[in-house]
């Protein structure tokens, strides 16, 4: 059996810390997600920190936005590395599902989490109901 997938949450300011803490409070699963903030770090230092956290076994890097310094760092680390997946637009539904499916193969798990994250988005308003994939 392969190693369980490791999760790294990479985000601006205090968001990563808050997301990880919240996932732990809701799920009761601890020590599975590692938060990293880009605050005060040069791009090369952020990449070093991320590389140390996400190499050596299959890892998913959850990033808050699809562009910006966090996304760039994640995508640079993952370039040419089959053991690392980068998921952007990280949200609680995605992370909560992750902590209960660490033993899935990385490609399938990435697909699953992307779906969970998207499914967690919705809009409710008196005039109607919209989902990200259309009205």
């Amino acid at each position: 059996m392969s190693d369980p997938v490791r999760g790294v949450v990479l985000a601006h300011a205090d968001l990563a810390e808050a997301l990880v803490r919240t996932v732990e409070q809701i799920s009761g699963v601890t020590d599975v997600l590692l938060p990293i903030s880009n605050e005060g770090l040069r791009p090369e230092d952020l990449r070093s920190r991320l590389e140390a956290a996400a190499t050596g076994r299959p890892s998913i890097i959850f990033v808050d936005m699809s562009s910006g310094s966090c996304a760039f760092a994640g995508r640079m680390i993952a370039r040419g590395n089959d053991d690392i997946a980068v998921l952007t637009g990280a949200n609680l539904p995605m992370l909560l599902d992750f902590v209960f499916h660490l033993d899935m193969p990385l490609p399938e798990l990435s697909e699953r989490l992307l779906h969970k994250g998207r499914a967690g988005m919705d809009a409710h308003h008196a005039s109607g109901h919209a989902r990200p994939d259309g009205p």
């Binding site: 005060g40 791009p43 936005m65 562009s67 310094s69 760039f72």
Partner: protein, 164 residues
């Protein structure tokens, strides 16, 4: 003059630049001056992936940026010129291209050989040397991470790290 922002920021096209400055100033195109990045197509694609529709980016080495400065500065719209460090901006200044321009220091972060001036500005000897050399060649130099944040003049930054 199309360039409305000249910024030194190690993170180049990141959220604070694209959203905090870009949206507020209505930036239509970015010129990133960096020798290494000008040679790396995949990194250019990565950086450009953060741009919104209708906003463009050009990646140039320092020499080409100097050669094409006038042409780029005459484009329609609002432009921003970004460098990763002080050296490239100093080169532009020493080429006489920034005489009427203000330079914004937006992000130079902690490193072993740097001292803290502000939360987002750390200077080593080479950065301080570059800024001192640029000072008489530009209209002004100050630090400001976001347009809504207070501006810190160069003199104060240099004083914080023991330079004058």
């Amino acid at each position: 003059m199309a360039f409305t922002l000249f910024r030194v920021d190690e993170r180049l096209l990141h959220g604070q630049v694209l959203v905090g400055w870009g949206v507020r100033l209505g930036i239509d195109y970015y010129v990133v001056v960096d020798d290494a990045l000008a040679e790396s197509e995949w990194e250019q694609e990565l950086y450009a992936s953060g741009l919104t529709e209708g906003v463009g980016a050009t990646f140039l080495g320092i020499a080409e940026a100097c050669d094409r400065f006038e042409e780029l500065d005459e484009r329609a719209g609002q432009g921003a010129l970004l460098t990763r460090g002080t050296t490239a901006m100093r080169h532009l200044a020493e080429s006489g291209l920034l005489k009427q321009r203000r330079v914004n220091i937006g992000g130079l972060h902690a490193a072993p050989d740097r001292s803290k001036a502000l939360d987002y500005v750390y200077l080593g000897r080479s950065e301080a040397d570059d800024l001192v050399a640029m000072k008489p060649l530009v209209r002004g130099i100050s630090a400001r991470d976001l347009p809504t944040a207070p501006e810190t003049p160069l003199e104060q930054i240099l004083k914080s790290v023991g330079r004058s």
